[in-house]
Symmetry: C2
Subunit: 456 residues, 2 copies
Amino acid sequence: MSRTQQAIQEFENTIQEKMRAFEAFLSIPSVSSDPAKKASMLDAANYLKTYFEGIGMDAAAVYPTDLHPVVFAEKRACKPDAKTVLIYGHYDVQPPDPLDAWTTPAFEPNVRGDYLYARGASDMKGQIVSVIFALESVLKTGDLPVNVKFILEGEEEIGSPHFESFVRDNADLLECDIILNPDAGMIDKDHPTIVNGLRGLVYFEVRVDGPKADLHSGLFGGNIANPANELAKIIAQLHNPDGSVAIPGFYDRVRVMSDEERREIARIPSSEEEFLAVTGSPALYGEQGYTILERQGVRPTLDVNGLYSGYIGEGSKTIIPAYAFAKISCRLVPYQQYAEIYDLAEKYIRSLVPPTVKVSFIKHSGGPYYFADDAPGLENLVQAFKDTWQKDVIFKREGGSIPVATVMQEILGVKSILTGVSLPDDAIHSPNEHLHLPTWHKGVQAYIRFLTSFDA
Amino acid sequence: MSRTQQAIQEFENTIQEKMRAFEAFLSIPSVSSDPAKKASMLDAANYLKTYFEGIGMDAAAVYPTDLHPVVFAEKRACKPDAKTVLIYGHYDVQPPDPLDAWTTPAFEPNVRGDYLYARGASDMKGQIVSVIFALESVLKTGDLPVNVKFILEGEEEIGSPHFESFVRDNADLLECDIILNPDAGMIDKDHPTIVNGLRGLVYFEVRVDGPKADLHSGLFGGNIANPANELAKIIAQLHNPDGSVAIPGFYDRVRVMSDEERREIARIPSSEEEFLAVTGSPALYGEQGYTILERQGVRPTLDVNGLYSGYIGEGSKTIIPAYAFAKISCRLVPYQQYAEIYDLAEKYIRSLVPPTVKVSFIKHSGGPYYFADDAPGLENLVQAFKDTWQKDVIFKREGGSIPVATVMQEILGVKSILTGVSLPDDAIHSPNEHLHLPTWHKGVQAYIRFLTSFDA
């Protein structure tokens, strides 16, 4: 039996006690947004520390932050020149409300058929323990060929307010070659999935100034350009009738998708109905000629994020507002350069402004698209997934950014592998959150293969 | 010497003591917006009451309100079936700030050349006393052929918050046939002016709803219609490229101006430079084919008064907002019906809304255009002005509404004659406010002629 098979066998042999440990972890109501659960947050952190100590990690510690602590653990490889894998996770969970919508209580894990029901079963206590259990089985059956570190935060569900400063303050401790972030998921239970791209961003504010102060709309209406009307006209000209962005040059660096790419994306199931149910919008919208997933992942967008002018309180006030502003962001795709897109946008908008008002800009932020095709260690995980599922890995582009991945890339200089074994219908953030145990089992096997792959 | 000439002569003979009385009134710092000046407000009211008593009014009283009092005074005519003229005025003034911009102190009236400098000299203590002095001289030289009432409020500069309830509660006291409101002004010192039309108004709110909550713009941008963008597109379609309103049917009831009307309006001097200086706008704007005064007075308009969507705080937040709204008003001209215009606007906007968002409306207010060609007593004043200036009267349409006129029309059933002898460059609301004394003298003469005109 191979080294990897021995570790997988160890996991299978000890599944009962692993499940008890997992369920004990799930029983801790580590709701980061609930001040009343502060002690539970510490309990969950200490639970992880104790478990890490139990499986023989070289170091395991709970680091306080200004709110919820970070758990760090480390196990050194058997050889001195081994690579280091840093595994990111979060042990906090969403609130369980509405409580009465749960078939069994959110913090009393319950197995029904192939599913384990509990808050955090999928997002992401189950994902954390899948990697810990994989490491445990590797450790119990032979040498560890790779240094392994864990950074498990307690504030992901509230926007990771102390994560960046923690990483910055502990950059030496967190030094690594590879980052594995298993907080994403699979497109379905048959297709292991890796997120290989995230969109970039440019975010700016356009302000239109007219009169020096709000004017009486009766006395001046008809003779003075209204900044709110003029801003609306500008915004209306930022899109073409087909839904594409009208800024000249906006698409110059956007690659035309190959037929193969489009076929690859088309393999990923997606449902218009699900999109509508999740958002509550009356109908989908989008650039003509593209599918939902193409629009989400590989096409750039422009959106107004905020809009203000004049009087917005109750009732009415008859004024020509002195000014109006819009906060506008563009999601960018390879190989759009955010600084260049900002310049193109400003130039185009200036060309739209009539001489009756003045325009000014604030540049809020910009960030590059995230292309994780080349995240270190990616090939090892691809092979581990292939060997486990006997299927090709699906590479998926996602629309947003994953801030913790950006933070770690900036500070540690390492791109994250974004993956995971949760499924789209796991009801994360909702009542009756659950985990598909057969898929999760395969996940543990895949992570065992990943960890032992560095043997060569 | 005629009855009227006797009264005019009386005024000229007593001008010195009249000026002392006027200056004493101007010396009271009756700034309604300043809580520290509450006692001065009462002083000003009492000053008027005492003056009214001194000239032999039948009644003179200070009526408290929840803030600043109203002064009422009445003098009955010599004959029982005489008509009743109600004179509206306000004894409060704007704050004098910035104080150091005054050549002589705001509340120390100072005559330099033809001008009297003081806060309130023009707006409108000078206008109030011009009518009181006219009445005084008529009373001293013979019988009064018309009942005269005064209603002088102390809250005009802060929006007349208690005026409507006072008029409603004292409708019997205020019963009248004619209302004279001398709070307007002349287009220049050579042209007596009467405002004969004010625009109407319809004010509504358009709300565009998209997703049920703010969405992550990265995950959903490109597939979900953005209510802020969609609202901007709607607003952009409310005007045609020539600056006219694009709502179908909007102009159906608007009369085409006759050449004579246009010539009449063109007689009124107006300056683009002055408009730009007052507003601070970089350039004028407006419906093509119309002059400034036509746009201001006789053409309807549409303006956004307020605009809101999403995140408008400091910095940035990447969301697709759940909703967006705009507060929109239209200034209306004869013979547009505000209820009909609202219906046309709603119908048109609904036709612009794509199926990807939902639209809803709030109707805030509506009011008719005010056509004062037929205000009772108008012919008497026109003749008095002609006899005084030896010039035809200019009739001017103004863009806004005069709320106190609307209130009195609704409650007392009488349209106001809107006029006055202030001049456009009197610097009202500004430092070094002043009154052109030769014009003001003519005004007193004209009001004497107006009061004695009811003799016939």
